[in-house]
């Protein structure tokens, strides 16, 4: 049992745990959606003075900020005290592709050193990629009214057509960039 939990979790176990998170949030009278926190952060920092979109009672969203603080702590606990390996069990095909693109630690570390080691801070090109990626995620999530948790999980479990459209959009954008842009970026 303990060994099962310290190894990378199989997909069906990870999926079931995410569904439990969804249930717990619904049961406590809330909704499951992480990108709303970015809007709350904007409001907290006074964005309401610039755009009416940020004029809402952000304190009422405090519970969700607490959830995201918990996610940070959870990431810390998992990586330091639970996971018995940092390697991600991606397929050998993926490893070969990524090594060819210059990701030498593919299959050996949790996140690519190229993008997420502290060396990234001194590489303006990598900084630009992270800024671009983050900006599109933040802009797109709010434009679409939700992200993977809000649409792909919350929305689809409640059979919402708009969420289905959004998820199709996620994959149109993701497949396009992954196949046609990423080979030029690295």
């Amino acid at each position: 049992m303990l060994e099962f939990l310290t190894q990378p979790w199989p997909w069906y176990f990870g999926g079931a745990m995410i569904a439990i998170v969804l249930f717990l949030l619904l049961w406590t009278g809330k909704t499951f959606g992480m990108s709303s926190n970015l809007r709350t952060l904007c409001s907290m920092m006074g964005a309401g003075k610039k755009a009416s979109f940020f004029q809402f009672d952000w304190k009422a969203q405090g519970w969700n900020l607490v959830v995201s603080l918990g996610v940070v702590i959870g990431g810390f606990i998992a990586s330091n005290f639970i996971a018995s390996t940092n390697a991600v069990a991606i397929s050998t095909e993926t490893v070969d592709q990524l090594v060819a693109l210059g990701f030498e630690d593919a299959g050996k570390s949790f996140a690519p050193k190229l993008l997420f080691s502290n060396n990234a801070f001194s590489d303006p090109y990598v900084m630009l990629l992270l800024i671009l990626g983050g900006f599109l995620v933040g802009f797109g999530a709010r434009y679409a009214g939700g992200c993977t948790s809000g649409h792909a999980i919350s929305g689809l479990t409640n059979f919402q057509l708009p969420s289905f459209i959004a998820v199709i959009g996620f994959f149109i954008g993701g497949l396009f960039v992954n196949h046609f842009i990423i080979p030029f970026l690295f």
Binding site: W9, G15, I20, F53, A111, V137, T148, A166, I181
Partner: protein, 138 residues
């Protein structure tokens, strides 16, 4: 008391995102390459079990644990433009950063510090949406 409960739900979610490798850039890359079933399995089983929970909540008229009111699930606004265009933009960013808003926070806790830049620019992207919202098709 409530705050502690939400903190624990978050911790549980953060552990799940890390241990199921959903937070890994490598897994997102692999998903878009169709090289593994893993990510489709995680999302698919989350939707499968989540749909059962959601169905039971409605069917059994389960009440909210704190205030005993009926749990109501609000429908998303009708339309398609914002969902399709916004979704495509989100997907483009997802493929580059390899992290959506939940995993970003879990990566921060796991000590991958450059994710701070992604979180900051995602917040900026959200702010920019708020600024130009009235000019966009919805």
């Amino acid at each position: 008391m409530k705050t502690i409960i939400y903190l624990f739900i978050g911790i549980f979610f953060g552990i799940t995102l890390y241990m199921s490798e959903v937070s890994s850039w490598f897994r997102i890359y692999e998903m878009f390459q169709f090289n593994s079933f893993h990510m489709y399995g995680v999302i698919g089983s989350a939707v499968f079990f989540g749909a059962i929970f959601t169905f039971l909540i409605k069917k059994l008229k389960i009440k909210s644990v704190f205030d005993q009111t009926l749990i109501s699930l609000t429908d998303k606004e009708k339309g398609w433009k914002r969902y399709l265009i916004g979704g495509i933009i989100f997907g483009c960013g997802w493929a580059i950063s390899g992290a959506c808003p939940g995993p970003m926070f879990s990566l921060l806790g796991a000590g991958f510090m450059p994710i701070v830049v992604v979180i900051a620019s995602a917040t900026l992207g959200t702010f920019f949406y708020g600024l130009i919202r009235s000019k966009l098709p919805h």
